[in-house]
Symmetry: C2
Subunit: 361 residues, 2 copies
């Protein structure tokens, strides 16, 4: 375990939402402390972190003080301002590294990177402006989807172009931000691979999960996913290829469309991923501990699946179902401690567990 | 869920050691916050609790302030000073309740309580003084073991009397504290039942584990324990009898000696128990979440076992083995974040997991 941090070291986490919260809990299991940096007050991770800094990413003093207390820095979201990263990376290691952030922060860079790796993506074209959109629509044609290059999540910053006449409205939805036009892909279903790469380069992937979205937000992830043996192998190999190309350290979520022409990479997320929450009840070492192990330089853990799981997100007033869910013997309920159940807000999730029909550990 | 606390409520925990730490983590999983009360500085639970009060149990102001911030109070150890409990119970519910503490804080009261329930215990006699010891030795005879009535743990406050001439030295080891003489029990092995009782009276027991001690400290717990079907049933029934008699709310550890004449109750602990740590990797809902569910008035969870587990405590310089243990695929490592690995100090534990040969869920 060269370069491994000893138990008791402090892990800095940028972002204090539910992912930061569950990373913090996983870190504690291995004896690490966490220090969470988050602009908003009373974030979910603050209830379980050892330390919390409430400051903006523009607050250089706060960032410096934060870096001074931690041994390594990780993050729960990819849209961290570049200026903050520039400041922090001079002070402490940031894992996953800058290259993964640079690629995944920008849809155009990401798609180009994936294509250069020889992986399939949806057809795409740069849309810097109105003229660019006209050109892009000639190359790709409607129906297609216009997306901001940066800062999109959960379906935000996207507009469908079903026919060419939708183009002006879609462009104005971008509010002047640089955009990318993506062609529609005809796929039977979406799966994701939660992949981890350790500091010494070893890669380990969790069993792919099958995702269903509602209103642009992940609704359920089911393991095992509907994949034949060769697709399953392809999914794992292409995820490994991405992680190795980036010399990645940590857990990454890789979303894939399943098509008759093979797997198409939809998106990569350089962090623990909502579609990996099933691992909390399906594996000995879950995605959160796997990420912590990777970034502190410990060996990756055993991510083999011992149960079939359906993860369902609890969104907004799904919270009203919690009293019934905690009575059900097959349900493991995970709640994020958020005080207000706004519509569209991820409040928790439930893992429905079945003994695996195909045990693989 | 009458009287159930809503997610987001705050649970007060007396004691900030590893049990308080793991209770705190389990509470966070269900969206609860925790406030830990602990006299020593930098206790393990403080790294994961939402709030920490560092004060003595004699500090009435601190206890009152603590009670003011919480919705229910629980504890990780049974030897809480009575004066603190008297103060707190007027302010907030304490679960498990006072009767369980009264019984388990005093070995004589506990043994009498168990006997009155019709359960088997080791032969015992009250030893208020030297004359009492002489009388007790006539009733029970050597070899036997003299124990302080209160404040014993991990083999402390105990002295063996192998022959009558050992009596004076044993008595002086008690340092004037009221004691109890216990006869030796000839048993093949020790098991423990981790039992839970909910606020509405339902009882759920985890599968009994088999315990091996070293130097008076728990070394390993193995599930399944060596018990035949009838012994397994007896173990669960007698644990339920104890919990029901105390109108208990929460998780209790019940240690049993297995003898040809049946199961003999060694000791009860009104809290989560070291011999229940295997549940973290063997069950969907572990002993810590089960305890939290009980004390907040939620339904008990699914404690069925899905794997065979050997839990081993990591004590003192066992910490040197951690780099090797985290490489092993069958090991789930749990560390407590204690800074100094003193001899005899519980630093963590490892759960070695095997798919169950006798799945029961």
């Amino acid at each position: 375990m060269t370069d491994a941090l000893p138990t008791g070291a402090t892990i800095g986490i940028l972002g204090g939402g539910q992912l930061g919260r569950m990373l913090s809990v996983a870190a504690s299991r291995l004896g690490f402390r966490t220090h969470v940096f988050e602009p908003s007050t009373n974030p979910p991770a603050s209830h379980v972190a050892d330390q919390i800094t409430c400051a903006t990413y523009e607050d250089a003093d706060a960032l410096r003080a934060f870096a001074g207390t931690v041994d390594v820095i990780t993050y729960e979201f990819e849209n961290i301002p570049t200026s903050a990263l520039d400041l922090l990376e001079d002070l402490k290691p940031i894992r996953p590294g800058r290259e993964a952030l640079r690629v995944s922060q920008d849809r155009l860079t990401e798609k180009t990177f994936l294509q250069d790796l020889g992986l399939q993506t949806a057809p795409f074209a740069d849309v810097p402006d109105a003229a660019g959109l006209e050109q892009a629509l000639q190359d790709i044609s409607a129906p297609s989807i216009l997306k901001t290059r940066r800062f999109g999540y959960d379906g935000k910053g996207q507009a469908r172009i079903m026919q060419e006449s939708d183009a002006p409205a879609a462009l104005s939805d971008m509010e002047g931000a640089p955009a990318i036009l993506e062609g529609f892909v005809s796929f039977s279903h979406e799966v994701s691979v939660i992949a981890a790469r350790g500091l010494s380069g070893e890669v380990s992937c969790f069993d792919p999960g099958e995702n269903v979205h509602r209103d642009g937000i992940l609704h359920t992830t089911t393991v095992p996913a509907r994949l034949n043996q060769s697709q399953r192998m392809d999914a794992v190999l292409l995820a490994s290829k991405i992680l190795n190309a980036l010399e990645y350290v940590g857990v990454m979520g890789v979303e894939l469309f399943v098509t008759p022409q093979g797997l198409i990479v939809n998106e990569i997320a350089p962090r623990v991923h909502n579609s990996g929450h099933w691992t909390q009840n399906g594996c000995t070492v879950d995605q959160f501990e796997q990420h912590i192990r990777a970034i502190v330089g410990w060996p990756l853990g055993n991510g083999q699946r011992h149960a079939d799981v359906i993860m369902e997100n609890l969104i907004g007033d799904d919270m009203d179902r919690v009293p019934a869910l905690v009575k059900q013997a097959d349900c493991a309920v995970h709640l994020y401690g958020k005080s207000e159940a706004k519509p569209g807000r991820k409040m928790g999730h439930v893992n429905r567990i079945q003994p695996s029909k195909r045990p693989n550990r």
